[in-house]
Symmetry: C2
Subunit: 100 residues, 2 copies
């Protein structure tokens, strides 16, 4: 249930790699990676995919972690956060059946 940032920081530290190394692989400045790891910046899809490749973890897992972070952020200061997520879920389910 960790954020993407926490997840990749742990992966990186377990391998004892500096930000520099991972950032180079992603082709971004290490400052950005630092911010991503601490949840100060959002990664983009390409970066998430490359991170999965780099750390050899399931791409889908990382994508879900990343996307759900974005959703949580979007409803963060709403007291209707939970309700909103539940309604969104129903809408997605409904769209699924509807589409063809």
């Amino acid at each position: 249930m960790n954020s993407l940032g926490e997840t990749i920081r742990k992966l990186r530290e377990d391998k004892e790699l500096p930000l520099r190394t991972v950032a180079a692989f992603l082709d971004i400045d290490q400052a950005i990676l630092s911010k991503i790891e601490r949840g100060q910046r959002n990664a983009n899809r390409k970066q998430v995919i490359k991170l999965a490749e780099f750390f050899k973890v399931k791409e889908t897992d990382l994508l879900i972690s990343w996307l759900s972070d974005k959703l949580v952020y979007e409803v963060a200061d709403e007291d209707v956060a939970l309700k909103t997520l539940q309604v969104a879920e129903e809408k997605v389910k409904y769209n699924k059946t509807k589409r063809k």
Copy 2:
């Protein structure tokens, strides 16, 4: 389970009001309202609140509808959409307990 746009279009048509009238109340161009009703543009919070006032419906209901639309949009083309929403839900729940 309707989108915000569908909801307010119905409200407006039931009262047989032109876009112009509602748009004037919101202090926006009618073109924008037209787009909002058809889901081509996102409303902002202030507009949603004014819409609730105008149509005399529960502000919270409209806000949830609006916010959930945004979430659905964000995960729309993901095949992990549902999973993502569920994970987001867990994260929100977790944050709730954590935050004192």
